[in-house]
Structures are given as structure tokens and as C-alpha cells.
């Protein structure tokens, strides 16, 4: 079935979503542009990717949007045919508008703020989201957002967001809190496209009255009382995740190709030198005090690259900083590295748990060492996982230092990283509309 009910967490989710700041995904960027003003909207794509870009994008069958953060209101500048079909809006009602028009009362505020944060930090995010069609029907999508960077200045030119409908292989029977479920999944031929899917639904038992008090309804265009669905969350299957990632890659390569025509080349990847700049200087300073060998990796960037490497890590592995930044840690592995250890690491990361493994690693010169590796998720001020920290200990040089065992120094470094990262990215919130 793949269907689980979490009543308690549902209540949390309600509260979590309930009072979240209003405004949609991209609302933080400013006010919307009216649908009539298409001048800068049209130019947004053609000036960078040439006149032919629209035709080329139309060839791509996936459901996706392209938005331009440099225009006030962060409006949609392109909507694919598949997307328009899915949401039921005509093109002219979508272009120039902000992406939040597809959200409704059941859209999880936390997911929305997660997306908003990804936009602010100019990074990718993949998340399940409840959207609404023009006729008001809610539907689940796997929302995959990815920034497009100008190669020359490293600035974000556009965001691409692919939306893969999430299917479910199971149906829920019954009444009460479930009654709206069939509305959500019963609809839509899109659901049938995809064979596998597992959905997790957080049931809400709160009364409608409770909800209307806590949800910022004024942020929605909705006039009817569809507040009943409240917050559900829905897990996409691996094939759906893959589908979204493939679509992103297709679109990025199309954009890259056409950008070459204008000479203003774009890329989906932040250059590593720019990537490290995104760590605030105060964070880098705090991290610099930690003398252990450790790296931070960014789980939101493609392939979880290293975004910070300590001097001791450079010394331990023999690589230089520019050789490790932007790369996945697997370059430390070699022919005799145990796959079981790698599996444990992956499992820890997938479940966002700390783990310790003994793993055979290789230095740049090819020599190997036993690495007593501790990996832990590190959360930012919003309570979201911002990085994973990996602290290495070379087992051959294990000795106490100032009375602290290597294991204690390792955890001491983890704690210091957690304190430092918690100070970063703390936002200003208010009860007013954002």
C-alpha cells in the first residue's frame, strides 16, 4: 500500500503550515506583474537564448515553468504545453504571474517556505507539493526547482521548475478525514501515466474552524471552502524523482545550447569557486577555528558536492582545495573500499541520521588509510538540514590530544559546526504578508 497515517504529526503539520507566512513560492520576490505586460517577459528568454528558444522548449514534453528572478515579482516567463494542460490555465493567464497562483489552502506552508529558501539560496530543491488546477481541483506534484547560472558572472538568470504529477498505486476507502482523498487522486489521467507511487498522507482531524483561524486565507484567490483537505504530504516514487531530474537535465542542456548562440552562456552548475562564496564569511570564519579534518557537503546541489573542506582535510588527503570543492566525496574511495561501508553512509544520509563507519580511503598519491568517519546532518536556523558534515580520523594516527580522545575531538567538531551553521540563514519573519 505504501500508505501510512500519522495523526499526531498531522496535527503538527497543520500548525506548521497554518500560520506560515502567506504568499507563494516566489512571492517573496515582490508583487506580481499583470498578465498584460508581456514586454520584458518575452524578452527574458529571447535576449539570452535567441529567438528560437521558445520553439525548442516547446519540443520538450515535460511539465515545466521558467521564471525570471530579475524581473519584479519573479514572474513566469515560459510555461510548457504539458504544464498548461495539467493545470488547465490558458497561457496568457500564466505568463507574467507568480508561481503561487497554483497554490491553495491545502498547500503545505512549510514546503512553500522550503522552496522560497532554495530560491533565496539559489540552489536546487525537490519536494512534493499540492497544487490546484484552474477549476480548483488539487493535485500532487513532485516539484523540482533548479537555478540557471550565467557562466560569466555566476549570477542566476532563471529558475526552471519541473512538475511531475505524483501517482498513487493505492486508493483510500472510507469517509471522515479521508473523504477528500478520492477527489485528489480520483481525478486526472495524468496519474495513470506513472505506475508506481507511494503516498503518505497526514490526516487532519482538526475542525474547519480551527483551520480557518490558523491559515492565511487572504493569500489565496480561492473563494470556495476547499480548506478541508488541509495538509497532506505525498511521497514521490523513485521513478518520478528520476523523471523530474531527467527533465531538468533536458531543459538545462537546451538552454545551454541556445545560450551559446547569443554568447551569454548559461550553466546548471555553480562554479565551485562561486559555490564556496555562498557560505557566509562569518560561517567560514567560525568553521576555520575547527582544526579537525572535515568537509561540509550540500545535499541540495546535484551529487552532494563538497562546499567546505578544512585545512586538516587537505593535509590528510593530499588534494588541494580547488580539487575537492564541488566534487562528491567518493573520490576518496578506491579499489578496496568496502561497499558495505558506503551503503551505511548512504543509509545515514537518506534517513538524515548521524552515523560512524570505518572505511578504507585513498589519498591523492594513491596510498590508503583507514578512515574512522562520522557523518551527521547539520541544520540551519529554520531547522532544515543545510549540510552534511563528515569528520575524518586517520586510524593510524589515533592519539589523545590535550586529554581528548580522537572520538571526542570528532564529536566536538560536529558540535562546533552545528553551532556555527545554526547562526547562518536566520530569516526575518513577520505576521504581515511577505
Amino acid at each position: 500500500m505504501g500508505l501510512r497515517i500519522h495523526t499526531i504529526s498531522a496535527e503538527k503539520e497543520i500548525r506548521g503550515g497554518g500560520g506560515g507566512r502567506s504568499g507563494g513560492i516566489l512571492a517573496a520576490m515582490g508583487s506580481e506583474l499583470g498578465p498584460g505586460r508581456l514586454g520584458p517577459i518575452d524578452e527574458s528568454l529571447s535576449s539570452r537564448y535567441s529567438e528560437w528558444i521558445r520553439e525548442a522548449l516547446e519540443e520538450i514534453p515535460d511539465n515545466f515553468l521558467i521564471t525570471d528572478p530579475s524581473i519584479s515579482g519573479h514572474p513566469i516567463v515560459f510555461a510548457s504545453r504539458g504544464f498548461l494542460k495539467m493545470c488547465g490555465y490558458p497561457r496568457e493567464e500564466v505568463l507574467g504571474r507568480n508561481g503561487r497562483i497554483f497554490q491553495g489552502p491545502g498547500t503545505d506552508r512549510r514546503s512553500v517556505s522550503e522552496i522560497r529558501e532554495a530560491i533565496r539560496q539559489e540552489r536546487s530543491v525537490q519536494i512534493s507539493l499540492l497544487n490546484y488546477k484552474k477549476d480548483g481541483t488539487p493535485y500532487w506534484v513532485l516539484f523540482h526547482l533548479c537555478p540557471v547560472f550565467g557562466k560569466e558572472d555566476g549570477r542566476v538568470t532563471h529558475f526552471v521548475s519541473v512538475q511531475v504529477p505524483i501517482s498513487t498505486s493505492s486508493r483510500v476507502l472510507g469517509s471522515g478525514p479521508w473523504r477528500n482523498w478520492s477527489d485528489i487522486v480520483g481525478d486526472s489521467s495524468i496519474m495513470r501515466e506513472i505506475v508506481f507511487g507511494s503516498c503518505r498522507r497526514e490526516v487532519c482531524l482538526d475542525s474547519v474552524g480551527e483551520l480557518s483561524r490558523s491559515l492565511p486565507f487572504d493569500s489565496y484567490v480561492d473563494s470556495d471552502n476547499r480548506g478541508l483537505e488541509a495538509e497532506e504530504s505525498c511521497e514521490a516514487s523513485d521513478s518520478e524523482k528520476q523523471k523530474a531530474a531527467t527533465a531538468i537535465n533536458n531543459i538545462l542542456s537546451t538552454l545551454t545550447h541556445y545560450s551559446e548562440l547569443t554568447g551569454k552562456v548559461v550553466t546548471g552548475k555553480r562554479c565551485s569557486s562561486i559555490g564556496i562564496v555562498t557560505l557566509s564569511s562569518s560561517l567560514t570564519i567560525s568553521l576555520g577555528r575547527i582544526k579537525q579534518s572535515f568537509v561540509l557537503t550540500d545535499p541540495y546541489l546535484h551529487d552532494m558536492p563538497i562546499v567546505y573542506a578544512s585545512d586538516a582535510f587537505i593535509k590528510l588527503t593530499g588534494y588541494s582545495k580547488h580539487e575537492v570543492l564541488g566534487r562528491n566525496c567518493r573520490f576518496l574511495q578506491g579499489p578496496n573500499t568496502d561497499v558495505e561501508a558506503i551503503r551505511q553512509i548512504r543509509e545515514g544520509i537518506e534517513t538524515a541520521q548521524s552515523c560512524t563507519v570505518h572505511i578504507l580511503n585513498y589519498r591523492k598519491d594513491g596510498s590508503s588509510f583507514w578512515n574512522f568517519l562520522h557523518i551527521s546532518p547539520v541544520r540551519n536556523a529554520s531547522g532544515k538540514v543545510a549540510f552534511y558534515v563528515g569528520v575524518q580520523i586517520d586510524e593510524d594516527s589515533k592519539d589523545d590530544h590535550r586529554g581528548l580522545s580522537p572520538e571526542m575531538r570528532q564529536l566536538g567538531a560536529v558540535g562546533a559546526v552545528k553551532v556555527a551553521v545554526r547562526s547562518s540563514s536566520m530569516g526575518v519573519g513577520s505576521s504581515s504578508k511577505s
Binding site: 497554518g18 531547522g383 547562526s423 519573519g429
Partner: protein, 389 residues
């Protein structure tokens, strides 16, 4: 002093150099798992950077970027992270969302749905409070997982970390707060907690402040709350890491002029803050700063005036928040971090709409009025003046 001869891992025999009565000078045997407990001995000349802390060498808060994480900082964070990973924490506080409340004051709000305020004695309630006997007291049994390490004044010039099965009578236990308000939240509790002194005195303030110096991390803050309630034993401190500056630390201050400045002590009035607050700064004279603040605190305790103390910037700054006496039993005093501008909300419905206006009101409600504050200020100045002359 006490010298210790070790019998085996589990038990130690005390041998005293002086012939005084045993109850005074004996240590508390640690009968744990045989490995002993991490025991941090504060150096008689704690170092800040490479300078010994003499009267002159005691320098302003450093937290230098190049400076290595200190031994005590590593120890506390390591032990805390270890417990966070496997141990008795009720929740992961780094999961909690935080934000600045919009407005000029940058007040900090944290959504922490599982938080519950704990006074230290609650933690130890299952211990036999009435018949406390240091010789039978078994830390491992009482605090089992919460005890992170011990700290006490050492005899060597430099601070050091040892493993000990014996704890001196003046040791302090650093105990995990299972309901943390921030990362690294601990209680610093005297080992003779169930004996007098019940209040803050020079020795205990000195020790807590020295811990903050040795931690040498600007995120680290030490707190003391005096609620003026006879039921609450007030002889312990709390501490944790606040990644961001507390709002009160950013508010402009107005110096109060006096002869104490010649001795390197500065007294400030925090201007334009909802709680009328005094700030004491001793860049160059740690001993005097501690003597002054502890003397002021004792005087407030004598008068049963509730107050909070916030020690920041590696013990170079101490904020004193005198509070009005709670009129009823239900009226609760604020804790030191609340006075500093950090608020914990247990429900999303309160967290999201929290406004600067409402929080300022909450702070102002516990502040002394001008007259009361002037009295505290004058008292502080006369103590400072006396100490300086």
C-alpha cells in the same frame, strides 16, 4: 589540600595533608563504570590566547578567527553531541525553527513545541534530597547519562583535562539539560548542591565565569536566574550556545562615570531597552568584575529582588536584569535569555503571529520602574566605588 591515592578504579582512598576534620576536605568518590569521569581542572592562570590572565593580561574577548577551538569548548560540545546522538535528550533542538521578529530590535523567536522549562532540582528529584551524604552520593547513578563532565579549580597554572574517579568537594557538575533551549544547553551545578550555599556567591560566579573564559567561544553564554522564591534553590548556572547575538547585546549603552574606571571596570546603562538593564564590563580586571557583580547580586538577594544575569563575550560582559517582584504565585519571572531577547514558543499559532510589540510588552512588564532601577543603579555604583577605593 587533598591528595588522593587511588586504590583501584572503583574506589579511592583519601589522604589529607592537613589534619582537619574529614567532612570538610574530603573528595567525593566517583563510583562509575570504572573509567572515571572527564574532569576539567581550571588553571590558576587561565589562558586567553597565549596570555596568562593576570590583572593586566586579561584581555577583551577574543574569539579570534585564527584561534583554535579551545579544549573546554571541544569537551563540552563533544559530550553534548555524544548525548544528542545516543542519549537522553528529549528532542533535537537544531530541528527548531528560529527567526528574527520583524522590527528594529531583532528579537529572536524559536518554535520549540517540546520545550518545557526545568529547574534543576526537578532533574534530581528522584535523588534523596533530605539525606544527602557526599560519601554516598553517586553521580553516575543519579545523573547517569546527563552528567557530561566535572569542572573545578586546579592547582596547575594551565587548565587541563584528566580522567578522575575522585571529585573534590568544590567541583561543579556540568549536566545536560534534557529540554534544551539551544544547542549545548547545560546546568552548571555545585557538587554540594544540596548543602548551602543556596545563593550565588563569589566562588560560584567566579567558577562559572572562568568556564566561559576557557570555552573562549563567543556563542557561549552563561545564565543565572534568581527568582526570589524560597522554594527554588538558586545556586546553579545554566549555559548554552546562542549562535546569534542576543538582542540586548546589540543595544547602545550609556556609561556611568565613577572611580571604578581607573580599575578597569566599566558600568553601563543599557539605553532604550524594554527591561531596564545594567551592563558591567571588565576588559582588564576579571577578578574585580567578578567581585563587583557577585557583591551586587548578593545585595539583591538580601533584598529579595529577583534578577537575571547574562554573561557573554567570554566573561568580559555581564548584563544584570533586575525584575519586579512577582505579585502573585502564578506570575512568573522571565529567564535570563528571555530578558536578553530570545523567546521560545511552544505552539506554531503563537510563533507565527509573534510581534515585536507584544514581546516588548512582556519584557517591559517585568522591568523595574525608574525609581526602583535608580536605586539598584546607585547601590551598584556605591559597591563599585567602595571596591575601587
Amino acid at each position: 589540600m587533598v591528595s588522593v591515592k587511588q586504590f583501584d578504579d572503583d574506589y579511592c582512598l583519601l589522604k589529607q595533608n592537613s589534619g582537619s576534620e574529614p567532612s570538610k576536605c574530603s573528595g567525593v568518590p566517583w563510583r562509575g563504570n570504572g573509567n572515571g569521569i572527564p574532569f576539567y581542572c581550571l588553571g590558576t592562570e587561565p589562558v586567553r590566547g597565549n596570555d596568562a590572565r593576570g590583572n593586566d593580561a586579561y584581555r577583551a574577548s577574543s574569539c579570534h578567527a585564527e584561534e583554535e577551538q579551545s579544549l573546554l569548548d571541544s569537551l563540552l560540545l563533544a559530550q553534548w553531541e555524544d548525548r544528542a546522538w545516543k542519549g537522553p535528550l528529549k528532542y533535537d533542538v537544531t530541528n527548531c525553527e528560529m527567526k528574527f521578529i520583524s522590527g528594529s530590535r531583532k528579537l529572536i523567536a524559536q518554535l520549540n513545541e517540546e520545550w518545557k522549562s526545568t529547574y534543576f532540582p526537578e532533574l534530581a528529584e528522584y535523588n534523596v534530597l533530605q539525606s544527602f551524604d557526599p560519601f554516598k552520593f553517586n553521580c553516575m547513578k543519579t545523573f547517569r547519562e546527563e552528567l557530561l563532565f566535572c569542572v573545578a579549580r586546579g592547582e596547575k597554572a594551565k587548565s587541563e583535562l584528566i580522567t578522575s574517579t575522585i571529585l573534590p568537594n568544590d567541583a561543579n557538575l556540568v549536566i545536560l539539560n534534557a529540554n534544551p533551549v539551544e544547542y549545548g544547553h547545560v546546568f552548571i551545578v555545585p557538587i554540594n548542591f544540596y548543602n548551602p550555599p543556596q545563593f550565588l556567591d563569589l566562588r560560584s560566579l567566579e567558577l562559572a565565569a572562568q568556564v566561559a573564559i576557557d570555552i573562549n567561544n563567543c556563542s557561549f553564554r552563561v545564565f543565572y536566574d534568581y527568582h526570589a522564591s524560597s522554594r527554588v534553590n538558586s545556586s546553579y548556572f545554566q549555559a548554552c550556545y546562542f549562535a546569534n547575538p542576543l538582542p540586548v547585546e546589540l543595544v547602545p549603552v550609556v556609561p556611568v562615570i565613577g572611580n571604578w574606571q581607573e580599575r578597569g571596570i566599566h558600568i553601563f546603562e543599557v539605553s532604550d531597552y524594554p527591561v531596564k538593564t545594567l551592563m558591567f564590563k571588565g576588559k582588564d580586571n576579571f577578578n574585580m568584575l567578578v567581585a563587583l557583580v557577585s557583591e551586587i547580586c548578593s545585595s539583591l538577594q538580601d533584598r529579595q529582588i529577583p534578577f537575571n544575569l547574562l554573561i557573554s563575550e567570554c566573561s568580559t560582559k555581564m548584563f544584570l536584569f533586575p525584575q519586579v517582584r512577582a505579585l502573585s504565585a502564578d506570575a512568573c519571572n522571565l529567564s535570563a535569555w528571555e530578558c536578553g531577547g530570545h523567546f521560545v514558543f511552544r505552539a506554531r499559532r503563537d510563533f507565527d503571529p509573534a510581534s515585536e510589540e507584544s514581546l516588548v510588552k512582556r519584557l517591559a512588564a517585568i522591568s523595574l520602574d525608574s525609581e526602583g532601577f535608580q536605586a539598584v543603579k546607585q547601590m551598584s555604583c556605591s559597591i563599585a566605588s567602595e571596591l575601587s577605593s
